[in-house]
C-alpha cells in the first residue's frame, strides 16, 4: 500500500470509529452494569468467579465486572474509592472491619435507589441477620461464617499409631495425639496457619475466649489477666516447652509437604487441600480451658456509597437485581468456598448436605457455628488498631524472645493508648 492509500484507509477507519460513537446504544451497552470487587484470593476467589460466571450465563443482560484478590489494601481501596467517587457497586467486608468502614456503606433499607432489602429478600431469610446491623441499621447482607478448624493428615496419624477416624475430642486426647506424632518423627501441630503475626494473635484469642477471658471491654484492654497469660503461655509452650513445632515456621508449607500432623487453619483451606494429594480430615479445636471456642468471622456483601447523580438510583437498583440473582447461589458458595453460608435456604439445601465439602469439613463447621463454638472478634471502630498494637508482642512471646507477662503488659499499654486516642 502506498502512502496515499494508507492515509485514505486510516481516514476511513477513523471516520467509521467516530461515526460509531454517535450510533444508538447496542443491547450490550444498555445492559445492567455491575462492578463487584471482593477481597477473596485463592480458593474462595475461584468459587466466587464460578458463581458470577453462572449468573452471567443465565442473565445475558448483566455486564458484571468481578475484580478480586487485593486483600492487603482492600479496605483502603474501598474507602478511597468512595472518597474519589469511583466505588464498586458491590463489595465484601469482614465483620471485624465492618464498623471501621461503616460510613462509606449504604444502609440497604435507605438508599437513593429506595429500600433495596425489600427487593432482595427479608431479614428472616438470612441466618444470623443481626451481624449485618451497625447501630441498628443493615449495612450489608450476611454472606458466610468462616473460622478456624484443625486439619489433620490421616497418613501422619496412622504412622503415629493414631486412629485417623477418631479425632481428639478433649484437651488430653489432643495433647496425647501431639506427643504421639512428635514421637513418630513428624511435626505435631501448628496453631497459626502460615505463622504470620495476625494468625498467632487469633490463635491466642481463641484460647483466651476459651478461658472465659475478654479482649477489650468498656473501651479498655481486658486481656492482661491470669486467663490471658495462661492462654498465651499455653500457645507459647506448644512451640517451646512441648516441642510440637518451632516458632517462625509456616504451617501451611509443613502440612502440604506432608510433614505436619495437625494444622489450625480457616474454612478457606478446603480448596487448597483438595488440590493437594493429602488425605485429610477436619475437626474443631477441643475445649482447652473452660469452654470450646474457635476463632471465626463473617463475610458480608456490602454496597459502597456511589457518587450522587442521575444514575445513582439505577446503579443501586442494578446491584439489588444482581443480589436477588445471587441468593440461590449461597449454597454453591458453601460447596465451593468451604464456609458456612448464612442463608437459611442454603443451609437446608440437600445439595449442600450431599456435597463433598459437607462431608470433608462443612458439617463440622456448620455444627460448630450452630453451637456457638465459632466466636468472632468484638466489633469496635478501632479494632484494627488494637490488633496491630497487640500483634508484635504476641508474636515475640510466641517466638520466645519476650516473656508472656512482658508481652501482655506492653500490649495492654499500647492498646489503651490506641483506645484512648481521639
Amino acid at each position: 500500500m502506498d502512502r496515499r492509500g494508507f492515509l485514505k484507509t486510516a481516514g476511513l477507519l477513523g471516520l467509521g470509529g467516530f461515526g460509531a460513537l454517535g450510533m444508538p446504544r447496542t443491547a450490550a451497552a444498555a445492559s445492567t452494569k455491575i462492578w463487584f470487587n471482593t477481597l477473596f484470593h485463592g480458593g474462595d476467589a475461584d468459587a466466587m468467579e464460578t458463581i458470577v460466571k453462572t449468573i452471567r450465563a443465565s442473565n445475558p443482560d448483566y455486564a458484571i465486572d468481578l475484580t478480586q484478590g487485593g486483600w492487603t489494601e482492600y479496605y483502603a481501596q474501598l474507602y478511597n474509592s468512595v472518597v474519589a467517587g469511583e466505588a464498586p457497586q458491590l463489595g465484601i467486608v469482614d465483620d471485624f472491619r465492618y464498623e471501621s468502614v461503616a460510613k462509606v456503606l449504604y444502609d440497604i433499607t435507605d438508599t437513593p435507589g429506595g429500600n433495596l432489602l425489600d427487593q432482595i429478600g427479608k431479614p428472616d431469610d438470612f441466618a444470623q441477620w443481626n451481624i449485618s446491623l451497625v447501630g441498628g441499621k443493615p449495612l450489608g447482607l450476611p454472606l458466610d461464617q468462616n473460622g478456624f478448624g484443625i486439619y489433620y493428615n490421616k497418613e501422619v496419624f496412622k504412622k503415629a499409631g493414631l486412629d485417623p477416624e477418631h479425632v481428639p475430642q478433649t484437651r488430653e486426647e489432643f495433647e496425647a495425639a501431639c506427643e504421639a506424632i512428635k514421637k513418630s518423627g513428624k511435626i505435631a501441630f501448628h496453631p497459626a496457619l502460615s505463622g504470620e503475626t495476625r494468625f498467632i494473635r487469633r490463635a491466642w484469642l481463641a484460647l483466651l475466649w476459651g478461658a472465659n477471658g475478654t479482649y477489650i471491654d468498656n473501651g479498655k484492654a481486658s486481656f492482661n489477666t491470669d486467663k490471658g497469660r495462661e492462654a498465651l503461655q499455653y500457645l507459647v509452650d506448644m512451640v517451646g516447652k512441648r516441642g510440637w513445632n518451632k516458632p517462625g515456621t509456616n504451617g501451611i508449607n509443613q502440612f502440604l509437604a506432608g510433614e505436619l500432623g495437625m494444622l489450625q487453619n480457616g474454612t478457606w483451606f478446603y480448596l487448597t487441600l483438595e488440590k493437594s494429594k493429602i488425605d485429610y480430615g477436619c475437626f474443631m479445636p477441643p475445649k482447652f480451658f473452660e469452654k470450646q471456642v474457635s476463632w471465626g468471622g463473617y463475610h458480608l456483601i456490602v454496597l459502597p456509597r456511589q457518587p450522587e447523580g442521575k444514575e445513582t438510583a439505577a446503579r443501586l437498583q442494578a446491584s439489588a437485581k444482581f443480589l436477588k440473582a445471587f441468593l440461590p447461589f449461597y449454597s454453591t458458595w458453601g460447596q465451593l468456598g468451604g464456609a458456612v453460608p448464612l442463608l437459611n435456604a442454603a443451609i437446608a439445601d440437600p445439595k449442600l448436605h450431599e456435597s463433598k465439602v459437607w462431608a470433608k469439613q462443612l458439617k463440622t463447621f456448620s455444627d460448630a457455628a450452630a453451637k456457638g463454638i465459632i466466636q468472632a472478634e468484638p466489633r469496635h471502630p478501632k479494632i484494627t488498631d488494637v490488633d496491630l498494637a497487640v500483634e508484635p508482642f504476641t508474636q515475640q512471646a510466641f517466638n520466645g524472645t519476650m516473656s508472656v507477662k512482658d508481652a501482655l503488659d506492653k500490649a495492654e499499654v499500647e492498646v489503651n493508648k490506641v483506645l484512648a486516642a481521639s
Binding site: 479496605y75 483502603a76 503475626t197 516458632p247 517462625g248 508449607n253 488498631d385 496491630l388 524472645t401
Partner: protein, 297 residues
Amino acid sequence: MRNSTNDADRRDLVAGILFLLPYLALWVTFAVLPVGYGFYISLHKWDPLGGSRFIGFGNYVELFGNERFLNALKNTFVYAAWAIPLTLILGMAFALFLKHVKFRGAGFVEGSLFFPYLLNVSVVGIVWNFLLDPNVGIIPYYIRAIGLPSPDFLNSPYLVIPTIAFVSAWWLTGYRMIIFRAGLNAIPEELYESSTLDGATPWQQFYLITLPLMKPSILFAGILTLVSGLCMLGQVLVMTNGGPGTSSEVLALYMYRTAFESFNFGQAAAVGFILFAIVFSISMTMIRWLGLRSELN
C-alpha cells in the same frame, strides 16, 4: 549595541523557559504539588469524607513521642546501612569484573546478573520466602546438609534486616551494574595506558582514574539506591510484614499501615513528609559530598 545584547539575552531566556516548560509542567504536577498537598494533609486530622481539622504540627509531635514510629525510623536506617553499600559495592564489583575479565559467556553472566531486576517485588519476596523457609527452603536444607545449624533468617530479630537487605541487593544489583558499566565504558582507555606507562598500579588506577571519572554514575546509582533503600516497602510487606514483632517494620510500612489499615491519613502524610525530608537532605549531601554541584548547576 547594548539594546541588541539585551534583546538577545531576553530571547535566550524565553527560549530556555520554553524548552524547560514541558518538563516543569510535569515536575510541578507530579512532584511539587503532591509533596505540597501531602504536607498540607499532614497538618490536619484528615478525614477524606469531610470534616478535616487543622492541628498544626500535632501529627509530627505525636509521631516523635511514639515508640513504634521511632523503632520504624531506626529500622529504616539500619536497613539502608546494610542494603545501600551492599547493592552499590556488588554492582561496582560485577561491573569491574565484566570489564576487565574477558571470558566466553560473559554476555550470559551479565544477563543473568541483570535478570532479577526484571522481577516484580512480590515475586522476589515470595521466591525468597520459599528459599529461606526453615522446613521446605533450599538454603536451610543445604546449610543443614553440611552439618551446620540453619539460622532462622526471617524470624530472628537480629538477622531479619540483613537478610532482607541481601535479598534487595540480589534484586537491584544488576541494574546498578549496568549503570556502572556505562560509566566505565565512558572512561577513555588512553588514561589507563598512559598511567600504566607512568608505573601506576591497578589500585592506583582505580582510585585515581576510575572512581573520580565515575562520580556521575556513582551519584546516579547512589541516589537511586538511597531512595529505594529508605522507601523500601514491598520486600518487608511480602516477606515478614514487619516481623518478627516489629523488628523489620520500616517507615514505609509504618506509613502504609497508618494510612491504609488505621485510616489515619494525616499522620501517614506526616510520616511521608518526614521520609521525603530525610531522602531529600541525604541526596543533597551526597551531591555536595561528591563535588558535583558545579556540574549540576
